[in-house]
Each structure stands twice: as C-alpha cells, then as structure tokens.
C-alpha cells in the first residue's frame, strides 16, 4: 500500500512540474517580489523534499546494507 502511494506521489510530482497553469502569468508577485511562476517552483522544491523524506522513511532499501560487508575500519570522516 505504502509503495503504491509513493509511486503515485512520484508520478504526481512529476506532473506538477509541468505547471502550464502559470505559463503566461507573472502576477501576483509573492511577497511583492517573486513572480508567481518562480514562487511555485521554489515551493515545488520543498514539496520534493517532503517526498524524499517519505521515500527514505517508508521505502528505504535497508536490505542493501545487510548484503554489503563493511570493508572499512575506523570512524567515518
């Protein structure tokens, strides 16, 4: 179920990148300076961060670590 939800979210966010609805609009200027198309894509980056957080929480491939021996010694730097 989680996987289906995440796959749907990935497709949805890809489609949300193709935002034809703000194609020819500069107004409103968000905070009085940011054209709406630019503000939208700044917010989009934050939404992607949310998706990545969800991916690492719900679909992290931890089996890969178990299958990979630690060939290093000493603390990480």
């Amino acid at each position: 179920m989680n996987r289906l939800l995440l796959a749907t979210a990935i497709v949805a966010l890809y489609l949300l990148h193709q935002d034809f609805w703000f194609w020819s609009e500069a107004r409103p200027l968000v905070f009085g300076v940011l054209p709406v198309g630019l503000a939208y894509h700044a917010l989009y980056c934050l939404a992607v961060t949310g998706l990545m957080w969800a991916l690492t929480r719900m679909a992290w491939p931890s089996h890969l670590e178990a299958a990979a021996p630690d060939r290093t010694r000493g603390p990480a730097r």
Binding site: L29, G32, L34, A42, Y44, C45, T49, D70, T72
Partner: protein, 509 residues
Amino acid sequence: MIPAVIVFAYLALVLYIGIFAFRQKAGSAEEYFLAGRSLGPAVFLLSLFGTNMTAFTILGSAGHAFANGIVTFALMASASAFVIPLTLFFIGTRMWALGKRHGFMTPVQMFRDRWECGHIGTAIFAVQAALLVPYIIIGVMGGGTALRGISGGVIPYWLGGAIVALVVMSYVFFGGMRGTAFVNTFQTVLFLSFGAVALIVISRGMGGFSAAMESLLASPATAPLLSRERISPWYYFSYTFIPLSTIAFPHIAIFCLTARRLGQFKRTVIFYPVCLLAIWLPCVFLGVAANSLREVPKIEQKLEARAALAALPPSAPAADRAALRRQAAGDDVVLVMLETFAPLWLAGILGAGIMAAVMASDSQILALSTMFTEDVFAFYGGKERFGEGVQVQTGRIFVVLLTVVAYTIALRAPQGIFDLAVQYAFSGYSALSPLLVAALFWKRSTKWGALAVTLWVAFAVIYTSQVPGALAWGGLLPVVPMTLISCALMIVVSLITPPPSSATVGRYM
C-alpha cells in the same frame, strides 16, 4: 586588489585543506581514489552536492536568467531537484552496495562483471571519458575568467587559469578523493552562503526588489522574463530528461561509492532539493533583476547589444551576430552587481564563493584518473604486473598530464566550442543512463544491448553537434529521442542476444 587578495587567501586555505588537513596514509588505491569508502554523512552530502555544481551554477545560471527570465529555475533547478535525488535513491544506493560487496571502484568495472564482458567495457570507458574532458577544460577556463574578473583585469586570463589549475591539481594529486571531498565540502558551505549574502547586499543597494520587478513588468520587452510565455511546452518537458545525466556522470557514480554506510544517502536524498533551492533561487532572481539596472553602464551595454541582436536581419553576417551575442551574454551580471553594490572586502569574500563554484573540475579530474587506472591500467594487467603502489602513482601522473593538457587547450581554443561540447555531453550522459538502469534492474539485459547503447550515444552526440536541428523532433530537445532510442536499443538487442550466466545475474538481482 582587495578582492583578489581575499581570493588568494581562499586558494591557500583550499590548498591546505586538500593536502594537509585530513591527510591519511594513502597506500591503497581504495584509499586514494575512494577515500577508503569511509566518508561520513555531512561530508558525503555537501561534497556530492558540490561535485555536481559547476561554474555554471552561479555565473551561468544568473546569465541564463538574465537572458531568458525565471524559466531558468524551472528548467534547470526544480527539474534537477526532482530527478537527481530519485536517481540517488534508486541507483546510487544500489551501486554503493555492489561496490562494497564486490570492490568496484568505477561503473565500468560493474558493467564488465554484470554483463561478463571486457572490451565492451573499454568502449563504454572511451565514450564516458570523451564526454567528460570538455568539463575539465571549461573548469580551467572558468578559473581564468573568474580570477581576471575579480582582480579587475590585473591577473590575466592565462595566469588566472594556471593558478586555478595548479591549485586543483595539487590537492587532487596529494589528497586524492579524501582531500577533494573535504575541499568540496568547504566550497559548498561557502557558495551556499553566497546566494543569501549576495541577495541581501544587492537588495540593500537597489533599495529592495519591488520597484525593479514592477519596472520589468511595465516594459513589453522585459515583462516576458517574469513568466514562461516565450518557451514551448515541449522544450520545457524535454529539460526533465537532462538531470538523468547526473547519475551517469562518472564522477557522481564514483562518488556514490565513497559513503561509509547506506544511511548516508538518506540526508543527501532529503536535503538535495533544499540545497538546490538555496543556491539557484537567489542566482536566478538576481539574473532577472539585473535587467532593471539600466543605470549601470556594463549592464546597459548588454541590454543594448541584446536589442541590436533582436533587430539584426536574418541576412546579417554570422560574425556580427556572434559579436553581439558575446556582448549581450550575462554570465558576469552577478559580478557586476556585486561590484556596484557590495563593499570591496565583501566583494572579495563573495568572489571566493564564486571561485568555489568555478573550481568544480577537481572531482572530474580525479574520476578520469580513477577510470584510467582501474578500467585500463589495472584491467589490462598493469596492477598485477607492477602492484598497487604503482597504480596509485600512475593515477597521480595521469592527474598532472590531464591538467596540463586541459590548460594548454584552454589557452588556445575559444570557450564557445567547449560550452557547446558540454551541452552535448549532458545529452550524451542522459542517453547513457539506461545502462545503469538495465544493469541494476533488468535480468535479461546483455552486453550486446550495452554495446548498442554506447555506439548509439557516440554516434548521436557527434551527429547532433554537426547537424543543426538534428533529432530535435516535434520541438523536443535531442536528449529525449536520444534517451528513448537508447532504451529501445537496450531492450531489443538484449532480447535477441544470449543473457549472462544465471550465477552472475543472481549476484545482482
């Protein structure tokens, strides 16, 4: 000269960090080329991000936005913010695990093992290396241009390029991957703070940005810069294919092997979009806002050149057109804005931030050296015959040779050629990304499918660079057909050729 002095102090600090600050005994190839696969989470995130940011990030993004408007952010930053973390999540983590398990140090080693091939791996190496060289040359050129700009022309281009090449070569030579990663971390912190500081300083100097935006909206010539009305939706869609190139870049793929634990990918995957936002949003915004600064003579000259270029009849000589294009280019608009609005000492510190982004060729030089020593020297018996110590020394000699060749070419060739080569290389690496997907996720993929993709990419890059408009079908950028044809070739050729042994496939799936 104050900014130049600060930049030299910065270069000295970079040299210290790269060579001495985190030096470890670099006896083994794994330590020199991959920092012993032991990088921690903060260094991994910042260095990976810094490795992928080039001179284009600060200078080129502002210049592109100066000419094309806010669409620059959606084309290059938010598309990358979506695609790059996904490729790190799905592909980077798997490459890391295979590297730990089987000791791979380059993608070609993995391809050779996965598809039970030898010389086909050499063909992949050759195409990857050929596509990477223009980046290294551009890095040297960027260093020369930036140092000349920051010193107000006191340091000539040839000397600036030589200084930057020497500094980069030294810490790559002595510090290997560990030195390079720590320098990249320091540089990333510096240029991440650059955007915010530059925005505040320039905003104060301009008395805020509201008036600037209103004046741009009031003019029919500049109002389209604040929307995307000049861009075709197909062109816009095509740009989402370009970030596929990132994971196929050898320096990024190799860097994925340096993490100590898989968990280190988590923060990188989550914070990559935020880092992109922090550096690209100010640069794009400043580039657009620069269009309102008609009272600044250097910017006014650019705007006049742009207007003259637009009014040029189609029959005008190509040389005139090229000259106007050069005058209208906005790659230095942020430098001009800082020169106008920032105090000298701050301009120096911000200049160091620009140098941090310009000096991104380090990881590419190291990656090419790693590929040469592992995929050619070691594969064809050099490691067995001469030992691991000689292999590391060969890698170091390769670093010196590569830097000297890149510097020599940078002095003689016009930058435009390599700017174009880099554009074609992006499409080439995107079209190579199906190799990674097939190797990691498709049992039935074969070495012949991999060879077909490699030959197609080599042909397509040469073809599109020689024939204007080639593969730009239906308003798409060539990267879309190139990548889709790569996928089709991998599928069709693999299905009609024998797969690798089930024992080999079993180690991957």
